[in-house]
Amino acid sequence: MSVLVYTESDQGTLKKGALEVASYAKAVADKLGTSVTAVTINTNNTSELAKYGVDKVLNISNEALQAFNAKIYADVIKQAAEKESSQVVILSSSADSKYIAPLLAVNLNAGYASNVIEAPSSTSPFTVKRNAFTNKAFEVSQINTEVKIIGVSSNAFGLVETSGEASAEDFSPSILESDVKVQSVDKVTDKVTIADADIVVSGGRGLKGPENWGMIEELADVLGAATACSKPVSDLGWRPHGEHVGQTGKPVASNLYIAIGISGAIQHLAGVNASKVKLVINTDPEAPFFKAADYGVVGDAFTVVPELIEKLKAFKANQ
């Protein structure tokens, strides 16, 4: 009857998002008066999960699961859910988990609520609050099926530490055949990704050209942040499409979003509304982004950003 949470890892190491969904699972389990079981795939060290409320870890180690395959992963998680008789299955909002969740919902004949931002307000009926209308509104959604699947929005619930111990068990599910094969992966491994980032530093057309991105990257480095850009910047080819933030680009749900030289078109704002705090640096005091921002600096990015970098370096050195 335990709540099952799929805790993702990257190259054997648990992702930060895994700890957040574990924290969320603990909150759900407390409401239901049950325990939390985490299922991990090819993860080297799962000891940290106990700190975030996990009671039991099902470790799956299998060479056949080294390359991500949504259909096979969904089948494996289904087997774990059945083994634990789980009524609630929780996943993150990573690209991979959002890929798995609808397949898992069909496998388990379960209602699925994605982009969930709070613990359930009620478990009978099972009611959750989620982002909708590209973060311009919330929807309170009731899941009617016996088994429920929840996709937790990044950085919405946060990390909640607790005390406790977790038992560990090896789990060897059967592995499906699939003719979906990964041919190549092109991934920047030494950079913080937008999906995992607490802070995102984003540049717009106000930066005048790709040759000026060095200061955006330096500011991101100082803050341990990911870099992003507005749509015109990716359309102009100054930055890769994968950095485009907005309605048709990547959604950002960071704790801090820093927009530099971005005026704040409605499509861009829709993609960043879920960020908790927004700082805007722009020469134009009338830029619409200032209306959506928490903090603002009216000034030239080419003088403000280098100075901000130096001041942040000094601040970090004193921390």
Binding site: V140, I143, N144, T248, I266, K276
Partner: protein
């Protein structure tokens, strides 16, 4: 190749979002509806297949008669036929069940849906169709080539992209990147005239109980005014981010 493009009828990006009936229903008053942007990229990619290597394109939507102008627009862009499944799009699973039935009945090779709609943002319909009809599935698809029954798809992943091979039938959750935005089609007068003669079939829905129910909607609390900091006082900005917002 038979291609099914799933079209969601959504409020235009710039629409004001309001609710009626005690915040239980989306207020359509004064709202312009459009083809869901992620679906529009998919439709344009389907047109590319039609023009370069031959394909027949059917567009499908789940919804009432008010969604037909959106289907007609897709026909004017170049789709060959349209199907409207005559039921309210209450929840993602129900919509996926309707679309899976259409996909099975029409024996389609390639089913293109947007990775998510810009209204409910569920992100579940393409994957659920694939699960229901047991077809291969690629989500967040930003590139697609088809040769015979073999496809090569590029998918956006966190921090990069990956290239995948899969055989047809295939369902994709598409997005920007499938085609460039500058390649999106605007219906011309000839297309609009031709669309009037193309078949738009109304199909009756399969029975389905909603797996999820929308209880009510809420709007975010009004935001306070921005705190402006002088560019000559960036220490104060760092102080605010550290001590007030607690984000650095």
């Amino acid at each position: 190749m038979k291609i099914l493009v799933c079209i969601s009828h959504v409020p235009d990006t710039t629409s004001k979002i309001n609710f009626t009936d005690g915040d239980t229903k989306f207020d359509t008053n004064g709202v312009q509806f459009v083809i869901n942007p992620n679906d529009e990229f998919g439709l344009t990619r389907a047109m590319w297949f039609k023009e370069k290597q031959g394909a027949n394109i059917t567009v499908v939507n789940v919804g009432g008669p008010e969604t037909e102008p959106t289907l007609r627009k897709a026909l004017a862009i170049g789709a060959d036929a349209a199907i409207r499944v005559n039921t309210e799009a209450t929840d993602g699973f129900t919509v996926a069940k309707q679309l899976a039935k259409v996909a099975t009945d029409g024996n389609f090779d390639l089913i293109i849906a947007g990775r998510e709609s810009i209204d409910y943002n569920g992100g579940m319909v393409p994957g659920m169709i694939a699960g229901l009809i047991n077809a291969n599935f690629v989500n967040n698809c930003i590139g697609l080539e088809v040769e015979g029954t073999t496809t090569t798809a590029t998918r956006e992943i966190d921090g990069g992209k990956e290239t995948i091979s899969a055989t047809l039938p295939l369902v994709i959750g598409g997005q920007k990147g499938l085609v460039e935005e500058s390649d999106l089609r605007i219906p011309n007068m000839r297309g609009i005239m031709m669309a009037r003669k193309k078949p738009l079939t109304v199909a009756e829905p399969v029975e389905s109980n909603p797996e999820t129910t929308s209880v009510k909607f809420e709007k975010p609390a009004p935001k306070g005014a921005v705190k402006l900091v002088s560019e000559d006082n960036l220490d104060e900005l760092i102080n605010l981010l550290h001590n007030e917002a607690k984000v650095i």
